[in-house]
């Protein structure tokens, strides 16, 4: 467009309709700054429709132009005789104009258009971007702020930098106590009494706490506000209330008081909310840090954290007490400083190792000066290492006591074992002696009784021979008793080896032996197949020999004798017969050594068989029980392991 409008064509006089139709404002000045022309649009833009203007001095007609760069620009264009272009805000009409100035030796022609909206949008955009940058900056600072007060002050500073309000305040809010905990104010808050609770009705507060921003353009008339008058004194009529917090609850409440235009701005409200969001995160992270800290303070262990150079960054109170210093004195020191204490150097070596390897470590250290044991647990983390120290003196004492007790116990066990071994050896020699020495006289009794009968039998009558026979019978029976006793002792002493035993096969073999030894007996025997257990084969066999042998013996007088060897459950076996049976009243006497429920004349035996069986079953960790009734048979049920017991 500028190309078509040459300075010559725009000569001061005469001016045609063309210029009138141009939508830009046009004003022409001569070399003495007198207005020689202004078009209708120009008059409109400059709010000078009804003024004469033509022939007037430009600066007299528009005096405020001197306050801005219009005059300088015109002068420069004329002097340099070069066109100029610029954007400037006119104080005359409070509008922004984009201006083109075309000079000629006679004067200048000025074309200007209203760009107020464009400039405002531009400004807003710039401001918005500025706000965003400021928010990001605030976020960075906020997350690192240790002091809550400073954090709140930062938030207010940011708020007031971008929202033109004279006064703002922010309070930490305790929702449970329904009151302010701590607050910061900024701006012209002079004369405002410190608050202890939000100046809002219950309902308004509830809305705010639920997370909704609240705007009031006239607090004096707003029923939601309790003390609108206070702010009237500051000349503020509107209020912006923004909750700081999460859905779970407000952490703080932020208030900005100002004029209706500023408070009513949607952009301002959004910005305040953005600050609140950032503040929420910062407060929450602070809370987390604080709770971490509280945890570290509350644990019973002493705690120390170091950075990667072993500079101590944190100690809890217990650690401070451990070194008998104040925490502030310790933080900032290097861990090496503590190597002056005995035990310290070793401890530090562990920390260095943990840093180097990234592996945690646990070790115990004895501090001779204190006569105490400490357990250290060292954990490396991304940028340093942390240690927990616990006094384990009592535990160590207990451990040592236990160790001493164990040593004593072992000594006593050894002593006792030795005594038992001696006793066992005594028993061995006793059994040996019984076996040899008790039998020899019996043999003599029997042998010489017979010699007497052989050599002097003709001197005896029948009664004499019968009495001699009784002597010999007694000797034989005593020999059997001695043997049974020795067998019982052997069962008790025999070392146990657990192997898989085929109970069915052993039982069948026992039955076969019995059939061979008494071929005249007619006994129906049922041995279930596939019965297995774990045990010492010789003892399991002895057990079955006794039980089946008993069944065999006690069915001697039973017509249709039957013996059933079976399994009641895995590992639970029984031997049942339909023989003489026994009276359950004496069942508890069955398994005692030398206990008999029948006379020797009725059924021969030593009374040791069932005692042996019980001994065998018990040595396998099993149980045995007997059921029966007189004349109706007996059932012996016993258990054996179904798997080899573990070595322990």
């Amino acid at each position: 467009m500028a190309d078509t409008r040459t300075p010559d064509a725009l000569g001061p006089v005469p001016l045609g309709d063309v210029l009138e139709r141009i939508t830009d404002g046009i004003i022409a000045l001569d070399a003495d700054w007198r207005i020689v022309y202004i078009n209708t649009r120009g008059r409109e833009l400059l709010d000078a429709r009804d003024r004469p203007l033509i022939g007037e001095d430009y600066l007299e007609a528009f005096p405020r132009a001197a306050e801005t760069s219009f005059v300088d620009e015109y002068r420069a264009a004329f002097c340099e005789q070069r066109p100029r272009q610029f954007v400037e805000h006119s104080r005359t009409v409070d509008r922004s104009f984009e201006v083109q100035v075309f000079p000629s030796p006679n004067g200048i022609s000025v074309y200007f258009r209203d760009v107020t909206e464009r400039v405002r949008a531009e400004l807003e955009r710039t401001e918005r971007e500025g706000r965003q940058d400021a928010l990001i900056q605030f976020g960075r600072i906020a997350l690192g702020r240790i002091s809550t007060g400073r954090l709140l002050a930062d938030a207010l500073e940011l708020l007031m930098a971008y929202i033109a309000v004279p006064y703002a305040e922010i309070f930490l809010y305790d929702a449970r106590e329904r009151r302010y905990v701590y607050g910061e104010v900024a701006g012209l808050g002079i004369g405002i009494a410190p608050r202890s609770a939000p100046p809002l009705t219950e309902e308004a507060l509830a809305g705010l706490l639920s997370g909704t921003t609240m705007t009031s353009l006239d607090v004096r008339e707003d029923q939601r506000f309790l003390d609108g008058d206070t702010f009237d004194r500051l000349g503020t009529t509107a209020a912006l209330c923004v909750p700081v917090g999460t859905e779970e609850g407000a952490l703080a409440l932020m208030f900005a008081y100002g004029d209706a235009a500023t408070i009513g701005s949607e952009a301002n409200a959004r910005f305040a909310e953005a600050i609140a969001t950032t503040l929420t995160e910062a407060l929450r992270s602070k809370n987390t840090r604080r709770s971490n800290r509280e945890i570290l303070e509350s644990i019973n262990d002493a705690f120390v954290a170091c950075d990667e150079n072993l500079t101590i960054t944190y100690v809890n109170e217990r650690m401070a007490a451990f070194w008998q210093m104040r925490a502030e004195e310790i933080v900032g020191k290097n861990l090496e400083w503590f190597s002056r204490y005995s035990g310290g150097a070793e401890t530090i070596a562990h920390y260095k190792m943990a840093l180097l390897t990234g592996k945690s470590a646990t070790f115990e250290a004895f501090f001779p000066e204190r006569q105490r044991w400490y357990e250290n647990r060292v954990y490396p983390f991304a940028s340093g290492v942390a240690g927990y120290v616990r006094d384990v003196t009592r535990r160590k004492g207990a451990e040592m006591q236990i160790r001493e007790l164990n040593v004593e116990l072992e000594r006593r066990v050894r002593e006792r074992t030795h005594q038992l071994e001696l006793a066992n050896a005594d028993l061995e020699s006793f059994a040996y002696s019984v076996s040899h020495d008790l039998r020899a006289p019996l043999r003599a009794i029997d042998g010489f009784s017979q010699a007497l009968e052989e050599d002097y039998g003709h001197h005896f009558d029948r009664e004499g021979s019968r009495l001699l026979g009784r002597v010999r019978n007694a000797a034989t029976r005593m020999a059997a008793l001695i043997d049974a006793l020795l067998d019982l002792a052997r069962i008790a002493r025999k070392p146990m080896t657990y192997v898989a035993v085929d109970v069915s096969k052993i039982a069948q073999s026992v039955v076969d032996d019995l059939r061979r030894s008494s071929p005249s007996r007619d006994v129906r025997v049922l041995v279930e197949s596939g019965m297995g257990a774990f045990g010492e084969p010789a003892l399991v066999r002895a057990c079955l020999e006794n039980l089946i042998g008993n069944a065999w013996k006690f069915t001697r007088d039973t017509p249709g004798a039957e013996i059933h060897v079976g399994r009641a459950a895995p590992g639970e076996f029984f031997v049942r017969d339909n023989g003489a049976g026994f009276d359950m009243a004496y069942a508890n006497k069955l398994f005692g050594a030398f206990q008999r429920l029948h006379s020797v004349e009725e059924f021969e035996g030593t009374g040791v068989g069932l005692a042996s069986v019980a001994k065998i079953v018990h040595r396998h960790g099993g149980e045995i029980r007997a059921e029966g009734s007189v004349g109706r048979g007996a059932t012996f049920t016993f258990t054996l392991p179904t798997e080899a017991p573990s070595k322990e």
Binding site: Y432, S435, R439, R443, A444, S449, Q450, T476, A479, L486
Partner: protein, 143 residues
């Protein structure tokens, strides 16, 4: 010792007499020479002139004063002159350990003395029959 004999090593006088009686009942006519303990038996077997007559077989009790039966057996089997003499353990013990040790040391038989004299006679009969009649003794080195 000039005629073939059986050596009984036994300290119990009752058992000695019963054994003699059992020999008599079985009509074993060989002399029964008795040693009352291991030392006496050793003297008899290993002492004296080198050319003396050795027993046809030995009946050995295990429980003996001074030198035990098993010790004596070990010595009998360890000496070239006596190593091949049939030796039968004749004892009251039926302990497994004694049985095993006896056989390990080279006993030819292990006989438990029954309390019943008739059984004892029978045992002696069988031992005597086997070792005196049926068994072919090892050739005597005459060189």
């Amino acid at each position: 010792m000039t005629s073939p004999y059986v050596l009984l090593i036994e300290d119990n006088e009752d058992d000695i007499e019963l054994t003699r009686r059992a020999f008599a009942r079985n009509h074993i006519v060989n002399d029964l020479v008795v040693a009352r303990d291991g030392v006496e038996a050793s003297d008899l077997l290993f002492g004296g002139e080198p050319d003396k007559l050795l027993p046809q077989f030995i009946l050995l009790d295990l429980k003996l004063p001074r030198v035990s039966g098993l010790e004596l057996l070990e010595r009998i089997r360890g000496d070239a002159r006596t190593a091949l003499i049939p030796t039968v353990i004749l004892t009251s013990s039926k302990q497994d350990e004694d049985l095993l040790a006896g056989y390990h040391l080279g006993a030819n038989s292990y006989v438990r003395k029954p309390v019943d004299f008739n059984e004892f006679v029978e045992a002696v009969r069988q031992v005597g029959l086997y070792w005196l009649v049926l068994n072919q003794p090892p050739p005597v080195d005459k060189t």
